[in-house]
Symmetry: C2
Subunit: 443 residues, 2 copies
């Protein structure tokens, strides 16, 4: 794909929406898409004819599964050389997905200085700051002045990935400050680095902090990079904003997918077997849960046999409460995803959902009551529907808002299968309240 | 809140996860949270005692509704001075949310040079590149050399928000290239800027491109900033990566919330009335849709009256197919959100979901068939359930995957109410297939 195509879908009449784009060399992100479109034999050919640096940059931009398949099909020597050229965080991600044997074979062929670093990075949990950080950092002694710092930067900068901050350490390698490279470069000659330290704050995270928390911090403080330290406040690496964008995307997919019992890491590129394995356990739980709701209905077999229309109408009650609950659920999960958890605020939000549920419940109940009365002329039946609806919709609103919080409080992912739990509650309570009421009032 | 608190929730035994944090001055993002926690009178007092620059920076970090309420409660002169100090894109966002009278009153008091700029920015659609761009850009004439460029940058940089690229224009203000500030600053003395232009590509967007498309481009190419141009390729402004993080967050919330008929822009801070207005129309559509499914059941009143257990079991069928469909739906919506739309790939993904639905459908159907037979000893009833289940789960998988695509093809938001449409299909078809089959096989 080209930028040209990307933009063509957006053109309108007076302006084609596309600015001049000159592509002398294909951008690695585009090369990655080109490669993914080829079959594996052509992928290997394509990679072999690229300069090693470009091959590494392009592979780094590919999807995880495609990356892994490609590297497995290259000869080990070339694979190792490519890994050596990749940013250490990207190389680590790739290695993490490979089977043990292949990973060892490749690592043993990576140049010694890169190998030690990759081995260290592989020891971090991939879901933590340590697992996503990059170790290519510009580190400056805090006692340098700007000119000495610039000389050091010029020396090092060729090897490093783009970085816009330099980190200052004391003689025990403790992180003591951060300066922007731009400030160093624009500083008066001879100015001590200490004068350039950003006054507001030095924000850093421990290596074992969850990567979603890292994403929150970078988003909250509008940082371009966040330093990662060990328990002794020694600088280990840095997490950059482009990695955070990937984390935010992953997080959104996880919430949306796990909510209904699909896999957190499923994509449309996953194999069918992978997706079946992820989803089937939740479908089984769902079938057990809906058996519970079915059992509630079964208790009222006599009522239904006497008045079969109830079977049709009970479905309207449960469905409506389920939808009400899902609306509350979606808004709550997003709050938990985007903001720092604040228990008081979260429960205030549950109260808010309860109010919304009461208002919507009342309005929908009145509407349905009127419609049923109009069609059937049976006021008692209409009243049963109305009462069951408002009751179940309030239960739905409360449950939808509370389920993610309860899951969070017991240390689970707030989204996981929340929609499945919600539906069980709204179905069972909807059937029970409507059929019970109808049996009592109508028969 | 402080970083200390932020981190304390994550400590474990051997490492408290928090690096040393020194906060001499509160970060604007934290000041914003402090302000949001105060009542409006105290908010005004707090803002009045801050230096005007800090006041502007803090207000820029507040939530939209809180921002608007606060600025409405400041006297117009102070409000206008604060707006003048804010980054133009932030000031525009704030002004956009105010009522016409207040906006005009504030704009008339903003210093003349800022006023013209804000008025121009207000003309752009807030959902497009023009609506989110920042106009504080470092622009360099392409014929300068590195030293001349550095002199120009030193002169301008005080006024500009953080920027890491400078843009090169020709004598007609056309955008011709981009250089990183770092490359300029590290370049050999006297080196012509043209030599520093990044060779790979110049990626820019027209001002009328959708902001989600902008987010895709920045994420895809790992850019820190993306220039925005007019139809004549003249540079208008730049969109930075921190704005993109907000767009990605908004986008994820929109998809998750509109899928079930909640408002795209609802948060837990929205008023109850706002949320009721957004959700009620979809709840009404949902009630109409479920009336359709109820009508299908009503057609089989005689069947149900003869065998009331069917009313309990039909619910298991529809619920299971609904869940299957939602899993497909979630994965498809995320694909559409994260990747450039590729019609062929999208329909291949529908086929993939169909396969998953067939496998999961078969396994669940066999499981349920066995369970029903075990409990009731009625093989025909068990077979009806099994057949209806596999049939409706396949329909669910196909519909869940296809609905977002169909919505997209007809120019609608692929997520909007997709879950509601899906449930209508899986309910109606589940009831029809199960009750129809049961009526034919059992009675």
């Amino acid at each position: 794909m080209s930028i040209k195509e990307e933009m063509d879908t957006h053109q309108d009449d007076d302006f084609d929406g596309l600015a001049a784009v000159e592509m002398e060399v294909q951008h690695p992100a585009d090369a990655a898409e080109t490669i993914e479109g080829l079959d594996i034999a052509d992928q290997v050919k394509f990679i072999k004819q690229l300069p090693i640096k470009d091959a590494a940059a392009s592979i780094a931009e590919m999807d995880d599964l495609d990356q892994q398949a490609l590297i497995a099909n290259l000869n080990r020597g070339l694979g190792a050389r490519i890994l050596g050229q990749m940013a250490p965080d990207d190389a680590t991600d790739l290695l993490e997905g490979l089977d043990d044997e292949l990973r060892k074979a490749l690592l043993s062929r990576v140049p010694a200085e890169d190998r030690a670093e990759l081995k260290t990075l592989l020891t971090f949990d991939p879901d933590t700051a340590g697992g996503v950080m990059n170790t290519e950092v510009v580190i400056l002694d805090q006692d340098l002045n700007a000119d000495q710092a610039i000389a050091k930067i010029r020396e090092e900068v060729e090897d490093k990935e783009i970085s816009y901050y330099a980190y200052l350490t004391d003689d025990k390698d403790h992180l003591v400050g951060v300066v922007s490279l731009r400030d160093v470069l624009l500083a008066k000659r001879g100015a001590p680095l200490k004068e350039l330290i950003k006054t507001q704050s030095l924000i850093s995270v421990g290596y074992n902090i969850d990567k979603e928390e890292v994403a929150h911090l970078i988003a909250h403080y509008n940082l371009l990079a966040l330093p990662v330290v060990d328990f002794g406040n020694r600088l280990l690496g840095v997490i950059t904003v482009d990695d955070v964008i990937d984390i935010i995307h992953e997080e959104a997919s996880e919430d949306m997918q796990t909510m209904v019992g699909a896999g957190a890491d499923e994509t449309t590129d996953s194999t069918v077997v992978f997706s079946v394995k992820k989803r089937l356990p939740w479908l089984i739980i769902n079938v057990i849960n809906s058996a519970l709701a079915a059992y509630v209905v079964h208790l009222y077999d006599a009522t239904i046999a006497a008045m079969a229309i109830l079977a049709a109408l009970m479905h309207v009650v449960s469905n409506q409460a389920g939808n009400t609950g899902q609306q509350a659920l979606a808004v709550m999960i997003r709050q938990l995803a985007m903001e720092k958890f604040d228990r008081r605020k979260a429960w205030v939000a549950v109260l808010r959902e309860l109010r919304i549920g009461m208002i919507n419940g009342l309005l929908i109940a009145l509407m349905v009551l009127a419609a049923i009365f109009m069609f059937t002329g049976d006021f008692k039946l209409a009243a049963c529907m109305g009462i069951a609806l408002i009751f179940d919709m309030i239960i739905g609103a409360f449950s939808g808002a509370a389920i993610p919080l309860v899951l969070k409080e017991i240390g689970r992912d707030p989204a996981q299968a929340s929609s499945i739990f919600l539906t069980t509650i709204t179905d069972a309570i909807g059937f029970w309240s409507f059929l019970g009421l109808a049996g009592w009032m109508l028969l």
